[in-house]
């Protein structure tokens, strides 16, 4: 906090007051906070206390809202998996409920995680009628007390949401907010990039800050904090749900990543071919879980190396 070089008592009081206000803002920011009588007593002690509390709360909100989205690596509880397990058809996705020593049931945030392994797809139906189709190796955080929000931590999900102007559906991804303006959009979060594609209606990206409205047929790529609007083929949006991966000038690195999630294998593109662009569709069901069969279509050699598969130049 500010250095206490001043001997000005008012300034010192100011610093002390702001520190107390900050402490109350942080503590009341938790849904588990219950020391309201103490907060009340502090407020009654001096009318300046309430003013300092509200100024602090609003300033923090303003700064938080000003933050640019950053491709922060998602928080993983275990080291990143290097070996994708291959799941037989009908595998069950894990559904974790994150209760951490709660005795009371919180009325606001009541988060739980839904996760799929690579090679698996799953659809989550929410209480409001919206649905989220999840691809492989995908992790979502949802909230039992708020069916109108989801966080995509990694992977790919297609959101088909019930539109409601009074209570818009929100997706949090890579520190950014997507707000539904109705009704269907795909979100992918992988390799520190976020990709959004809208097939129906519109979606607002970070409304209010670098707010960008994306309409049907538009997409967005966020890389290194920079967001670029792109055009997408509406019919291809979310085609992975039918086991078709469709690309228009995507890098082989991205294709390798998507194939890994779809097939349940660990496929990577070596540096020699990683940036090569690819346009076309891959019917992943036809590959029967064998990534080598995608080689001819992609114009690369696909070989096993150590514990994983690698795409490399044919020559």
């Amino acid at each position: 906090m500010a250095e206490h070089d001043d001997i000005d008592a008012a300034a010192l009081n100011g610093a002390g007051l702001n520190e107390a206000a900050l402490d109350w803002v942080v503590r009341t920011g938790s849904d588990a906070f219950d020391d309201w009588p103490a907060f009340h007593a502090w407020l009654e002690a001096d009318p300046r206390h309430a003013a300092a509390y509200h100024a602090m709360a609003m300033d923090i909100e303003a700064m938080a809202a000003a933050l640019p989205p950053v491709p922060v690596a998602p928080i993983v509880m275990q080291p990143p998996r290097r070996r994708w397990p291959v799941w037989a058809g009908g595998a069950i996705a894990a559904s974790l409920a994150l209760f951490v020593g709660y005795e009371a049931i919180e009325m606001r945030a009541h988060p739980y995680a839904v996760e799929t392994a690579a090679g698996v797809m799953r659809t989550v139906r929410l209480a409001d009628g919206s649905s989220i189709a999840m691809g492989g190796a995908t992790r979502l955080m949802l909230d039992r007390n708020d069916p109108r929000m989801a966080t995509l931590e990694r992977g790919e999900a297609m959101f088909v949401v019930r539109h409601d102007d009074n209570d818009p559906f929100e997706v949090s991804v890579g520190g950014a907010r997507l707000v539904d303006v109705g009704t269907a959009f795909d979100v992918k979060r992988a390799r520190s990039e976020t990709r959004v594609a809208v097939s129906e209606g519109a979606v607002d990206y970070n409304p209010g800050r670098d707010g960008i409205r994306l309409v049907k047929g538009q997409g967005l790529v966020v890389r290194d904090g920079k967001a670029t609007v792109t055009a997408v083929d509406v019919a291809s949006v979310g085609s992975w749900r039918d086991s078709v991966l469709a690309y228009e000038g995507a890098t082989l690195a991205e294709v390798a990543d998507d194939l890994s999630r779809a097939l349940g294998v660990d496929l990577r593109a070596d540096p020699g071919v990683a940036k090569r662009p690819f346009s076309g569709s891959i019917a992943t069901a036809k590959l029967s879980g064998d990534p080598r069969l995608a080689g001819p279509l992609l114009g690369v050699a696909i070989r096993k190396r150590g514990g994983h598969w690698v795409m490399s130049s044919r020559s």
Partner: protein, 170 residues
Amino acid sequence: MDSSGLEAVFFANRDTLLRFIRSLGAGDAEDLLHELWVRIQSAPTGPIASPLSYLYRMANNLMLDRHRAVRQAEKRDREWTEATGGPALDRSEEPSAERVVIAREQAALAEAALQSVGDRAARIFRRHRIDGVEQRVVAAEFGVSLSTVEGDLRKACRAMIDAKRRHDEA
């Protein structure tokens, strides 16, 4: 507890809640108390472990909502003034292209302030404030105690507030 149970707690603690709303600086505390009562009618039914705490929280949120609305109205007024070339409010002479630049500067300022507190505190701030994850869950995710999370949040908020207020004074 259904809404009638919550109402019972409301009526039993009506005076306390009224004093609380007043202590938050509301000139029309009775009206806000009534607003609180109206909101209780449409509160989601389901178990509420601490109904009084719940009511305090709703009252606190009402006042926060009100302050937020005031800030947003001021911001809209400034922008309207700029657009119509009306009388200058504080620094409202910038054209809208400059407003975009200002927004980018604010983003850079916020980002720099957050990064200055270190990686864990910055990530904890984002997790709680932007992703909206509850503090105890954040503590579990990071494998630290709740008081560590509170400390990191204070650290991050302090840096961002200092940066904002220094900038606003300039």
